[in-house]
Every structure is written in structure tokens, then in C-alpha cells.
């Protein structure tokens, strides 16, 4: 899939981000958020598009579910199509456990701030800075969604985000071999081809417990390796990010 276009210059200015869920960085990397602000900071911005994230499950704690849930919710909040595969018989039930984003405080306290301002006795030289900050908040708040939301695990994600053809759920038990799953992923990722034009849509792939023992292919090591390799190849040529979790015994093989 080598680019056949002639390059006019090696540096092209990053296009302005019209879609809220994508962040452009000067060196050409494009990030999507993991759904956890601190993790985004540690990773240097988020998950780069085209990356394959592998998560080893902890046998004694379900932390990988937190990563998965935040990842999936963030994608749905930003209107990014999602393919979710899990060993459960009915994976759609999992969608009911996705967290809802916390409303930003600015929205709530917008009306209160000017009144509080009068009540506060601010030292004379700091008032000018406070006035500037107010202006900044005003311009940023209107109409722009955040790159990474804070999620409230106590509240489920609203139905409006789950509707439409945005979420595709697949049960891994239905597949006796990985070829069919690979084809399914291929057709999903084909919606987000990577060409040099503007990015219109970004996709997310979440696969939970790929080597779970209840799946028919779990003993076929080389097939699983081959699947992961093909998935990586497909991700390279599409605008998507995949997160796969593995049961802890998978490493011991």
C-alpha cells in the first residue's frame, strides 16, 4: 500500500481539527483519547491512530474492564463507530454498563460566576487576570466537546449514544476459527480507509478476552498470533484504534 502520490513537501501543516475526538500533533501523529485523562497524559496525548493496544488482564481484579469501558464510552461520546467482541453469549448487555460522561462544571456554574465575582474581594492586581480568564472560559465552552471526558461509573451511558448503527457487537463464541472474526474486523475497518485526505471518521475496536477458554479457537496459538498480526496490518491502513485484552494465563503459553 505504498503511496504513489508525489510529495510536494515533506512537511504539511496539520489540518485543523473539526471533529472533537481527534487531536493532531505537529509531527503528524493523530491521537484519540483513551477515556482516562491521566492515561492520556502518560501516553503523551492518547492512543495514536492505527495502534493496537494489548491489555493483560489481572487474574484477581477487573481493572481491564475499566480501561475497556472508558475506551468504548469515549468513542461513543465522540460519535466514533465501535466494534465490540467478547466471549459472552450476548455482548450487547455489556453496553448497559458503559459509564456516562460527567457534565463539565463550567456548564453548571456559568450563571453563578458573575454573581460570585461581586461577592469575592480580590486583591486589586489580580482582578485583571480574573477578567481575562472569564473570557477564555466563555470562548472555550461554547460548542466544543472535550478531547477526553471524565466518566461517572455510577451512571450508565445515555441511550442516544448507543443507538444507530454505531455499535456492532459480536460474540466470540460464535466463531470456531478466527478467519470469520478477521473478516468481520476487516469489513468494519474498511469504513475508515487511510488516505491523505481529511479524516472523516475514526473507528474503535474493543476485543475482550481474546484467548478465553470458552472460545473454540483458544488452543490454536499460531492462528491467534496470525489474527493479531493481520489485525495490526489492517489497522495500519485505516483510521482506527484497537484495544484487545488477554486473560493472564495467555502469557504462560
Amino acid at each position: 500500500m505504498a503511496a504513489n502520490k508525489t510529495r510536494t513537501s515533506s512537511f504539511s501543516a496539520a489540518p485543523s481539527s473539526q471533529t472533537p475526538g481527534i487531536k493532531f500533533v505537529p509531527n503528524g501523529t493523530i491521537f484519540v483519547s483513551s477515556g482516562i485523562p491521566d492515561l492520556d497524559k502518560i501516553l503523551g496525548g492518547g492512543f495514536p491512530l492505527g495502534s493496537l493496544v494489548m491489555v493483560m488482564e489481572d487474574a484477581e481484579a477487573p481493572h481491564h474492564m475499566l480501561l475497556l469501558r472508558n475506551f468504548m464510552s469515549q468513542g461513543l461520546v465522540h460519535n466514533q463507530p465501535l466494534l465490540y467482541a467478547s466471549p459472552a453469549k450476548d455482548p450487547r448487555e455489556f453496553l448497559g454498563t458503559l459509564p456516562s460522561p460527567v457534565l463539565s462544571k463550567d456548564d453548571k456554574s456559568h450563571n453563578k460566576d458573575p454573581e460570585q465575582d461581586k461577592g469575592l474581594r480580590i486583591a486589586w492586581q489580580y482582578k485583571k487576570y480574573f477578567g481575562e480568564n472569564q473570557q477564555n472560559y466563555d470562548s472555550h465552552r461554547v460548542g466544543k466537546q472535550e478531547f477526553c471526558n471524565d466518566f461517572d461509573l455510577r451512571k450508565p451511558l445515555e441511550r442516544q449514544f448507543l443507538g444507530g448503527c454505531r455499535v456492532d457487537c459480536v460474540s466470540l463464541q460464535n466463531f470456531s476459527n478466527l478467519g470469520a472474526l478477521q473478516d468481520h474486523c476487516a469489513s468494519f475497518l474498511a469504513q475508515f480507509p487511510r488516505n491523505d485526505d481529511n479524516i472523516s471518521r475514526v473507528g474503535r475496536l474493543a476485543i475482550q478476552s481474546l484467548c478465553a477458554p470458552q472460545c473454540g479457537y483458544s488452543t490454536m496459538e499460531w492462528e491467534m498470533l496470525s489474527f493479531i498480526r493481520s489485525l495490526k496490518g489492517m489497522l495500519r491502513s485505516s483510521y482506527a484504534v484497537a484495544v484487545i485484552t488477554f486473560p493472564s494465563f495467555a502469557i504462560v503459553l
Partner: protein
């Protein structure tokens, strides 16, 4: 002085620091071993860069199992080499094997993918003009994914490598392979890796520092050249040890405790 042109410790260890003359790796097999903590692909890119330098007529045939052309092009651009131009000038040939899958289900089919690949490589090598035949470098990145592509039949992958090895003796090509040492560390008999180590004339190992992570040193490198002609005329093995640090546009190589 341009950091891209002056030879560094890796160039010296591989013998690439001679500015003119025959390609020093001709007829030799170079095996680069790395691991998850320290990726060794920068060694391949440095060899490509030296091979495609303007005052030589080397040809590089790249069999890619791991990274796409655009990825390698971006990196080589940072190192000061224009791969698109080299490809148009027939000095760089890229075989995209990223999606190759030749499972072993059918005995003939299992070998078909790699057999076909070898046929293409051999045809290409034979078809090159006579003067270029002496300085061809065949690069495989990386061999472990070749094994995955054949669904675990390392015999087929080894056969392919041995056939490529015949090209080194027949045409004087050099063969550069990248494999990962830590994949085989859990096995009792890591046959696949050992076979490759026996095949290799030059071994380059990229390992993390024994003392752990460091911000200014990314790892240590060991280059072992087997069968080098020593001064008295007898063959000996030569070993180089140094450390490296990967930066945005270049890689720094230095002896432990020193910085260039």
C-alpha cells in the same frame, strides 16, 4: 560536521566506515537480535542508509513483514535518505509481505507463499545488471513474523532463509535478518533462532541495560563478526560493545561512560 555522513561506532563495527570500495557486507549474513525493551530495527535502517549512499551503486531488496513502506520512508527521511527516489531509480525494492498468510494446511500451499517470494527475489537478483550484482543487500524485517505467516512451520521459514543464503554465495549478496531473542527465550531448544545464529557471519544484539531503564542510554549493543581476517592471516572473531541512544533524527553510539 554532518552527523549523517561521519561514520559512527556501528558503522565501524560492521565495516561500513570505508567511504569507497567494495560493499563490506557482500557475501555475508548479518543477524540482528533485539527484544521488546530495545527494538533493533534502527540497525537495519542504518545499513539501508549506508547502502544507498550517493557514491555507491548498492541495491537493497527489502522483504517487509513488520512495517509498511511509508513508515520506513519516514524514518529514512529523518536519516537523510529519500527512499521514494531510490525506489524509482531501481536501487530500493520493497516487497510488502505484511498481509502474507500461507498456512500449513495443504503441504504444497504452505510453502507456496514463501516459495513464490523466493522465486521473485531470485528473478530480481538475476535480472540486475552485472555491475550491481556484487552489492545487493537482501533484508528481512522480521523473521519471526515469517514464522507466524506460515502458522508456526519454522521449517518452511528456515528453508526460505537457506535458499536466500545460496544467493549470498552465488551472487555475493548480503543477507540482513532481524529476529527477536526474547520470543525464543522460554523454549527449551530454541532451534529456529540457533539455526539463524549459526548461519550468521555477523551478529548484532540490541539489549536493554543490565542496570535497568535510563533516560540518556537506551540500550547496549554487541556486534560479533565471525571469521574476520586478523593481521597474522588467521581467522578470528571480533567483538564490539557499545551503548546507544535513539534521538529524533539520529542514533548516538558511544562507549559506556562517555557521550559523543
Amino acid at each position: 560536521m554532518d552527523p549523517h555522513r561521519s561514520p559512527n561506532l556501528l558503522d565501524e563495527a560492521l565495516g561500513l566506515d570505508q567511504s569507497a570500495g567494495t560493499w563490506p557486507l557482500g557475501g555475508r549474513v548479518v543477524l540482528v537480535e533485539d527484544c521488546v525493551e530495545t527494538s533493533g530495527s534502527f540497525v537495519l535502517y542504518q545499513i539501508i542508509k549506508r547502502a544507498l549512499s550517493p557514491n555507491s551503486s548498492n541495491v537493497v531488496i527489502f522483504l517487509a513483514f513488520s512495517h509498511s513502506f511509508s513508515h520506513i520512508d519516514r524514518i529514512l527521511r529523518k536519516l537523510g535518505s529519500n527512499l521514494v527516489a531510490q525506489r524509482d531509480n531501481s536501487r530500493f525494492f520493497f516487497f510488502d509481505m505484511l498481509m502474507l498468510q500461507c498456512p500449513e494446511g495443504d503441504e504444497r500451499k504452505g510453502k507456496d507463499g514463501l516459495v513464490e517470494l523466493y522465486r521473485k527475489v531470485q528473478t530480481l537478483v538475476s535480472s540486475l545488471p552485472e555491475d550491481k550484482k556484487k552489492c545487493i543487500t537482501i533484508m528481512v524485517d522480521d523473521v519471526s513474523l515469517m514464522e507466524v505467516a506460515t502458522n508456526g512451520s519454522s521449517d518452511h521459514a528456515l528453508d526460505f532463509l537457506r535458499y536466500c543464503h545460496t544467493l549470498t554465495s552465488e551472487f555475493g549478496c548480503s543477507l540482513v535478518l532481524l529476529n527477536h531473542e526474547d520470543i525464543y527465550s522460554g523454549l527449551l531448544r530454541p532451534t529456529f533462532l540457533l539455526q539463524m545464529e549459526y548461519l550468521a557471519d555477523v551478529m548484532v544484539k540490541a539489549e536493554p541495560l543490565a542496570t535497568g531503564l535510563a533516560s540518556d542510554v537506551h540500550g547496549q549493543m554487541m556486534v560479533l563478526s565471525k571469521g574476520v581476517c586478523g593481521k597474522p592471516g588467521n581467522l578470528m572473531n571480533k567483538m564490539h560493545n557499545f551503548q546507544f541512544r535513539i534521538k529524533e533524527n539520529t542514533v548516538e553510539y558511544f562507549y559506556p561512560g562517555r557521550r559523543t
